[in-house]
Each structure stands twice: as structure tokens, then as C-alpha cells.
């Protein structure tokens, strides 16, 4: 996993509440057995005017000029600004895979759905919760200034705006540690191998039917 330390990037505003993972990556692309290559189909139904299918050459497809990510000013954005309950619905990790592959390193919203929030951390994406008021303010700012960038500093847990405004954000200590260092969860858990074995032995004694 790519570590996340300090990231400065262009912000794209996705002004909708309850953006679900079906919208982030539609089901037909879930048939892939790979982890990569989902970026061109992120937000497929909003982004293109035709119906997307796996295997299509996405460069030849008609794009929807009204969709925000297709606007020139948001090309190469790497921070997504969104509304409440972002990432609700299906648990598909293909959603953060698609966002990461597209080039997003962070999503900022007033709230996130649990599973999506969790999946982001496993893929080097930092989901940031800011109050609805601050998010509102950022939407206004982004709209006003072409080329609007934010700097996200995970170590200090701050976001800095172009005019020097600083917003503090919360992040769980363990997740922060893993993200800062690009650590793989499985390796970390393996350090507790003995404990797992002991737990399992006791568990088997008290509820043997679980091990039939």
C-alpha cells in the first residue's frame, strides 16, 4: 500500500448526498478478478453517455460534458469533496480501488458509510470527516477559484486551504499509523500469532460445535 503523509492536490466537488458504491463503480465491472484497472469506469453511469461494459475502449466512448469530473478545470483532481453518507450501500472494495485508480488520494465529506470508510484505509485513500458547515464553505471556495488546491497533512491531522486557513481533522491512531507507513494489516496481525492460537484453543474447548 502507498503510504500517505502529506498530499497536496486539486479538489473536485461532487455535490450529492448518499453517493453509493453502485454509483462509484457499477456492478458490471465487478466481474473482474483483478484489483486494478477500475479507474476509467469510476462513476461510469454519470461520466459517459453510453452504457459501459467491461472490455470497452473507454477513450472512444461519448463523455457526459455535464458531469463534474469531465470538466476541464477538474482534470487531474486528486481530492474529492462530497456530501453526507458518501460510499453507502454495497461493501465492494472495488469502489476505493476505482477511486484510487482514478487518482484520488482523499475524500472529504461530512460523513461516510462504515464499510467504505474502512475500505479506504486499506487502499491508501484518506477519508476525512469535516463538519457540514466547513464542507459547505469548501464547496463555495472550490466553485469560486479555478485550480483550487488543498494540502492534507496526515501526521499533523490538518488541511490547509490556499488562503492559509487551517482545518483540524480526526483520525483513528491505528489507522493513521498504518497509512503513514503504508503497512499491511495481515503482517501486523501475524505478530499476534501466539495469541490467536491460544484464543482458538480456549474457544474450541468452550464451544466445540463451532469447529465441527
Amino acid at each position: 500500500m502507498k503510504p500517505f503523509t502529506i498530499h497536496s492536490g486539486l479538489v473536485a466537488p461532487l455535490d450529492r448526498a448518499n453517493v453509493d458504491t453502485d454509483a462509484i463503480i457499477p456492478k458490471q465491472f465487478l466481474k473482474s478478478i483483478k484489483r486494478t484497472g477500475f479507474g476509467p469506469n469510476a462513476f461510469d453511469e454519470w461520466r459517459y453517455l453510453d452504457r459501459g461494459e467491461p472490455g470497452m475502449d473507454n477513450n472512444l466512448r461519448p463523455i457526459n460534458p455535464d458531469f463534474v469530473l469531465n470538466k476541464d478545470r477538474y482534470k487531474n483532481s486528486s481530492i474529492l469533496l462530497a456530501r453526507e453518507n458518501f460510499g453507502c450501500g454495497s461493501s465492494r472494495e472495488h469502489a476505493p480501488w476505482a477511486l484510487e485508480d482514478y487518482g484520488f488520494r482523499s475524500v472529504i465529506a461530512p460523513s461516510f458509510a462504515d464499510i467504505f470508510f474502512n475500505n479506504c484505509f486499506k487502499n491508501g485513500i484518506l477519508p476525512i470527516v469535516l463538519s457540514a458547515e466547513i464542507v459547505d464553505r469548501l464547496f463555495v471556495e472550490v466553485d469560486k477559484h479555478i485550480g483550487y488546491k488543498l494540502e492534507i497533512n496526515l501526521e499533523d491531522q490538518i488541511i490547509t486551504t490556499p488562503d492559509g486557513q487551517v482545518y483540524q481533522f480526526e483520525v483513528d491512531g491505528f489507522r493513521k499509523h498504518c497509512l503513514l507507513n503504508g503497512l499491511d494489516d495481515i503482517g501486523l496481525t501475524m505478530q499476534h500469532l501466539k495469541k490467536i492460537q491460544i484464543f482458538e484453543e480456549n474457544h474450541k474447548k468452550s464451544q466445540p460445535w463451532l469447529f465441527n
Binding site: D15, D185, I196
Partner: protein, 492 residues
């Protein structure tokens, strides 16, 4: 003397108080009990939780198996895993296999991974194949007191058994495969009590939708919801599964119902249930799986069962729901600017006018199925409405997709298939089907569907498709009428 007496009585008082505080401290919610009894290790509020049952399907597992192979890791406990293909399987004749090559590859990849790693799998043509959340309980592979995970958000279904069950992402699937553990933070707890008796024609699905309508799709975010109250106690296991299934639609990763005799009776005799010599001990333990009397929840919601009418969603989020005798809401009445825009967008997508009475909305297709409503009881409820009636000629397609091969066989034994077929329904093979349309079953753009599934998101059942979530009885009634109708008028 008096001084000593005073001291004694003081001590006495303090100690009774201490006892009651201690009791309070020791009294646990069902969620606490399940979580605490699986903690392997804890550090700064993050726990390593031992996982008892891991259910696997073809969509969210290939990358996890691949990850294991690449890093040369093994499965920690192979008999904790039960695998089944369900999302991509065709619901029509299967003898010729899967026509779509990409779907086929995904199912074949699951078959190959299961055989490479020695995992028990119910393959596509196995009688026991079905939707992962239907077959787990059906096999007795979901048991009270377990931790259950699956790379699928509707894993919350299994909480109906007093098990701690939640959906996980693919990285976590790989993590559980390799370590039998999940890195997890404790959720907050919410009690949703449905008190009183349900009105006739009102089902678990209506409770679920009414709860989501009340608390919103993010209302349960960060919580584990325990459903309780007389109406919930009165539900069958099928009904409890429907309710817990939709906990995720309220934002909660886990839904729970306490264990009682209904739970225990359901499990008895199922293939993966405890053996006869383990049974009594298991049951004794399971009977402790309820929230203690004095336990406290972080949030409490109480709903009067009597106030719940048959529900119909009108928009593109499960919280956009009203009763059958209501009208489509007017964005003018939205609570905020964000909500107003959301409602307008939803109305536009759904092709609906504000203030239209729900029972005037005509439909094109009817889908009875999905992990929410494809169990035997669901099919019985729908068949009761359909019996002796015909699907309206304006309906292009009405289909019933049983949740598993065993549900299908049971329904056929009871003659339900004939009732459906005679009425004009198609009777299909088990799988996820048009719940998300990864196989050939989809809505065309602009088509409107009465669906017993769980998500009415844009494009969920097919690009441009319009989904209205309802109970099986309401879907059956809509099929007969050609538009939504209060099922209570049909069952009298």
C-alpha cells in the same frame, strides 16, 4: 455503640449501592457479549476479533485468494469457510453453463480457488446452491454466538440468530482467510424496539423500511442495531433475517435479534448444527445471548407496530419511503437545501411527479427474490396473494427467484410454483438475479419495477431502471393490479 452502628449502616448502604453499580457495569448488551467474547487482543480501542464463520462468494473473493497466493499465505482454518457462487449465476436453464464469458470466468475462478485451497463450496449445479445469506442459515452454518463475516454488506442478515455478523471488504476477506481475525473497533449500540402487534398484511420488510424511513440511511452509521419488542419477538426467523438484512440500509454494519425458542427450533436438525452430544450445551449457552435487563444503549428508538402500514419506496435511496396510502413527497417540503436537491434529482430519475398517490404508480416488472425476501415464508406470502389471480396484462415480466435450491424444492413440494406459473409469473433458478443484475436479469432503461430486494439506487437493477422496494405480498399485489395497491384490499 451508636457510632459503630452508624458506621455499619453506612457501610451497608454503600455496599448495596456498589453492588447495583457493579451490576450495571457488568450488565451487557447482546452486542457487548458477542464482541467481548471474541477479542483476541486489544490495543488503544482497536481489537483483533476472532471470526467463527467466513462466507464467500465469487465477486469479492478472487482478489483475496490471489493475494494469499502471491504472498504464499495459507488459510488459517479452512473449515470456517463456506463458499457459493450467487451473483453471476443464470436463473434460467443452467445445463449449458453461463453464457457471459466474464461472469463465467468469475464463477470458474471461485471453483478453482476453492478446490486449490480445499474450501467447501456449493457449486452452481448443487441442489444446496443459493444466495450466500440464504444458505448460511439454511445449512445451520450460521449459529448463535458466532462472529460471521462475508465480503458482502448484507451479512448483517445473520445477526437474526444472535450472531455478530457484518460485511467486510476484500482486503479484510484476505485478512480473515490468513489470520482468522478481523481488526475491528467496537461500534456504538442502538436499540430499535417495535412494540405491539403488526397489522394484517404488514411484514418484516415493512418494519425494515419504516425504520429506515424514520432514522434515515445514515441513522445507524457507527452503530450495531439490536431489534427487539413484541413485534420482533413475534417474527419467524425468516422475518428476523429480513429485518437484520436491511440494517445495513440504515447504515448499521450489524443488526441483531436476541436468541429465543424460535431461534433454537429453527437450527435444530440442520446439517452444520451442533451434533446431538453437543446440542444441550450449545443451547444452554445460546440462551444467555440477549441483552441484560439493566444494559444501556447509546441510542434508543421505539416504534409502535400498529403505526406501520405497507411501505413503498418512491426514490433512489431506501429512506425515500412512504406508506401505500400516501403520496409522492413534494420537494417544497424538504427539510434542507441538500435534501430538496436530492428529492428533485430522485423524482427526475424515477420519472415521478410530486404529490402523485402511490397507488396510481403503474409498473412494468415485478421481482420477487434477493437475500432480503426469497425464503420459503416470503414465497408463501406472495403466493397467498397471487393464488387464483392473474398477473396484469400490462406487466412485461413478473419473476420469482427462490433464495436457494432447497427453498425452491420446498416451494415446489407445497405447490407454490404452480400458483405462480398459473398466474403468469416466471419461476426461476436460485441466485441474486435482478437484485443487482450482474447476470442476464436486468431492467431496461426507464422500466419501473416492484422489487422485494433492498436497494433502489440509480441503475441498481439495470442502467436507467426504476426500483420501488416493497414486501413480497405487496409485490405480488402490484403484479396482479399492474400498479401499487394496498395488499390488505386483496387479502381482505
Amino acid at each position: 455503640m451508636s457510632l459503630i452502628f452508624l458506621c455499619n449502616s453506612e457501610i451497608l448502604e454503600t455496599s448495596t449501592e456498589t453492588v447495583s453499580i457493579l451490576e450495571k457495569m457488568m450488565s451487557k448488551t447482546l452486542y457487548d457479549k458477542l464482541f467481548d467474547s471474541h477479542v483476541v487482543h486489544e490495543e488503544n480501542g482497536t481489537a483483533l476479533l476472532y471470526i467463527d464463520r467466513h462466507l464467500v462468494h465469487e465477486v469479492t473473493s478472487p482478489q483475496a485468494f490471489e493475494g494469499l497466493k502471491i504472498s504464499g499465505r495459507k488459510l488459517w482454518r479452512v473449515n470456517s469457510i463456506l463458499a457459493v457462487p450467487d451473483h453471476n449465476v443464470p436463473t434460467t436453464d443452467r445445463r449449458s453453463g453461463i453464457a457471459d464469458p466474464i461472469s463465467r470466468l468469475q464463477v470458474e475462478t471461485l471453483d478453482a480457488n476453492c478446490s486449490d485451497f480445499g474450501v467447501t463450496e456449493f457449486k452452481m449445479n448443487d441442489m444446496r446452491q443459493g444466495i450466500v445469506h440464504v444458505i448460511g442459515p439454511e445449512q445451520g452454518a450460521t449459529l448463535p454466538g458466532m462472529t460471521v463475516v462475508c465480503g458482502d454488506s448484507h451479512t448483517s442478515t445473520h445477526g437474526a440468530f444472535g450472531a455478530l455478523a457484518h460485511g467486510i471488504g476484500t482486503s479484510e476477506v484476505e485478512h480473515v482467510m490468513a489470520t482468522q481475525c478481523l481488526v475491528q473497533k467496537k461500534s456504538k449500540s442502538m436499540s430499535v424496539a417495535i412494540e405491539g402487534e403488526l397489522l394484517p398484511g404488514v411484514t418484516a420488510k415493512d418494519i425494515a423500511l419504516a425504520v429506515i424511513g424514520r432514522i434515515g440511511t445514515a441513522g445507524g452509521t457507527g452503530f450495531a442495531i439490536e431489534f427487539s419488542g413484541t413485534a420482533v419477538v413475534g417474527l419467524s426467523m425468516e422475518g428476523r433475517m429480513t429485518l437484520c438484512n436491511m440494517a445495513i440500509e440504515a447504515g448499521a454494519r450489524a443488526g441483531l435479534v436476541a436468541v429465543d425458542q424460535t431461534t433454537i427450533d429453527y437450527i435444530k436438525g440442520r446439517p452444520f448444527a451442533p451434533r446431538a452430544d453437543q446440542w444441550d450445551e450449545a443451547v444452554n449457552y445460546w440462551r444467555t445471548l440477549h441483552s441484560d435487563k439493566d444494559s444501556t444503549f447509546d441510542s434508543v428508538v421505539t416504534i409502535d407496530a400498529n403505526s406501520i402500514k405497507p411501505q413503498v419506496t418512491w426514490g433512489t435511496s431506501p429512506e425515500m419511503v412512504v406508506s401505500i396510502d400516501d403520496t409522492v413527497p413534494d420537494p417544497k417540503n424538504a427539510k434542507s437545501e441538500v435534501q430538496r436537491k436530492d428529492w428533485e434529482r430522485a423524482l427526475h430519475y424515477m420519472g415521478l411527479e410530486a404529490n402523485t398517490p402511490i397507488d396510481q404508480i403503474k409498473i412494468d416488472k415485478v421481482f420477487i427474490g434477493s437475500c432480503t425476501n426469497s425464503r420459503i415464508e416470503d414465497l408463501r406470502e406472495a403466493a397467498k396473494v397471487v393464488s387464483g389471480r392473474k398477473v396484469s396484462p400490462i406487466i412485461k415480466l413478473a419473476m420469482v427467484v427462490p433464495g436457494s435450491g432447497l427453498v425452491k424444492a420446498q416451494a415446489e413440494k407445497e405447490g407454490l410454483d404452480k400458483i405462480f406459473i398459473e398466474a403468469g409469473f416466471e419461476w426461476r433458478e436460485p441466485g441474486c438475479s435482478m437484485c443487482l443484475g450482474m447476470n442476464a436479469d436486468k431492467l431496461e432503461s426507464g422500466e419501473r419495477c416492484a422489487s422485494t430486494s433492498n436497494r433502489n439506487f440509480e441503475g441498481r437493477q439495470g442502467p436507467g431502471g426504476r426500483t420501488h422496494l416493497v414486501s413480497p405480498a405487496m409485490a405480488a399485489a402490484a403484479a396482479v393490479a399492474g400498479h401499487f395497491v394496498d395488499v390488505r384490499k386483496l387479502i381482505g
